[in-house]
């Protein structure tokens, strides 16, 4: 997962051939996890829109929330992505933000959650 978090172009190409990432989560969290992941996918649209208008504060807040919540739901990678998004937004680093956005999208597209 470290390669994904770093998110450079070579990593993205390599990730295209990476297998599905399956995460097992306790059954009692099924509703919450599904709702959480749906919200995070919506957040990616908001990050994309905010990037277009250079609204770094919105991206910082989204990154901050992702950093705080990801690991609690069983996705430490999302917490790491959130921290990276927050840092890049504070630094107003558009290139890093685009790379992180692509990395999160890639992670979520590979993710399969099973409940037991």
């Amino acid at each position: 997962m470290t390669a994904l978090i770093r998110g450079g172009p070579e990593d993205s190409e390599r990730a295209n051939v990476l297998p599905v990432l399956t995460v097992r989560v306790e059954k009692d969290l099924e509703t919450l996890v599904n709702r959480f992941l749906a919200r995070k996918r919506e957040d990616l649209d908001r990050v994309r829109a905010a990037l277009a208008t250079r609204d770094f504060e919105t991206i910082r807040r989204i990154g901050h929330d992702l950093k705080g919540a990801g690991e609690g739901f069983g996705f430490p990678e999302l917490s790491a992505f959130g921290a990276a998004l927050e840092r890049a937004a504070i630094a107003r680093n558009e290139r890093a933000l685009k790379e992180q956005l692509a990395a999160v999208e890639q992670f979520l597209s590979r993710l399969r959650v099973t409940f037991r």
Binding site: P19, V20, L21, T22, V23, R24, V25, E26, D28, L29, L32, V33, R35, F36, R39, K40, R61, H64, D65, K67, G68, A69, G70, E71, G72, F73, G74, F75, P76, S79
Partner: protein, 267 residues
């Protein structure tokens, strides 16, 4: 991840077994101030699994307003909120009539000076997100044990002329058993475990009748009046079970030699 076990490089588990936490010594009424809905849902889920009752506020001002009419056993407070900061919430609570409310900060702010500032402003503990479920519950319960809720752990309460046995559910007054209904017993225990603490009507209703019960104010007042009479919680006996206008009740132990004048906000 919460004690995650890596089964193989691409398959992992996300949460510890729900059986890993013991049942709480006592149910707490927990206020959660958290603007991220996912985080709020997760904290609520964990705490309710642990046997506590949660009330969520997505703004600091919403909690401050609620505290005019509600009381809680503990507050879980985020720092970054859309309206006022968690530290401002903390300062306002410490300057209010609910100044003793135990507060646990749960925030993604991890700088040492943030932690120090929150603790110096009066937070009881501080956790950096992402938090782990069992640790969160353990810390909350530890704060409660350290604080005024220590009495809630006790099976036998001995106060003045009263002796309360929570196992046999009996109350003795001057060595004589006081006949109480089940609800009156629960109400008596709630007050006797919280002497001097202002309890909101919502808090009393939820603790004695349960979170979903429909109990009118008149019913609650009737029960309070009944235990006041049966237990003799009156100024001539050194006690006062005072109604606080538009809020709830507070049981006070008075200095026997000096009868106290009612406050202007009490009826």
């Amino acid at each position: 991840m919460n004690s995650a076990t890596l089964k193989d490089p691409e398959v992992k588990t996300a949460t510890p077994s729900p059986t890993a936490s013991a049942a709480p010594a006592t149910t707490m009424r927990v206020a959660i101030v958290e603007d991220d809905p996912s985080q709020a849902e997760l904290l609520t889920h964990w705490l309710e699994l642990a046997g506590h009752r949660c009330h969520h506020f997505d703004r600091g001002e919403a909690l401050i307003r609620a505290l005019d009419q509600e009381s809680f056993d503990i507050l879980v407070l985020d720092w970054n909120l859309p309206d006022i900061s968690g530290v401002d919430v903390l300062k306002r609570i410490r300057a209010s009539r609910q100044s003793g409310l135990p507060i646990l900060f749960v925030t993604a702010r991890n700088r040492e000076d943030d932690v120090v500032m929150a603790l110096r402003q009066g937070a009881d503990d501080y956790m950096v997100k992402p938090v782990r479920r069992l640790e969160l519950i353990a810390r909350l319960e530890a704060i409660a044990r350290r604080g005024k809720h220590r009495a809630e752990q006790q099976e036998i309460l001995e106060l003045d002329v009263y002796r309360v046995d929570c196992q046999t559910r009996t109350v003795m007054r001057e060595d004589r058993v006081v006949e109480l209904t089940a609800k009156d017993f629960d109400l008596s225990v709630l007050f006797l475990r919280n002497i001097g603490r202002l309890l909101s009507r919502g808090h009393i209703r939820e603790t004695v009748w349960g979170p979903n019960a429909v109990v009118t104010s008149r019913t609650l007042d009737t029960h309070v009046s009944r235990i006041r009479n049966k237990l003799g919680l009156t100024p001539e006996n050194g006690w006062r079970l005072a109604a606080v206008y538009r809020y709830g009740y507070r049981l006070e132990q008075l200095d026997a030699a000096v009868p106290r004048t009612p406050r202007t906000d009490e009826r």
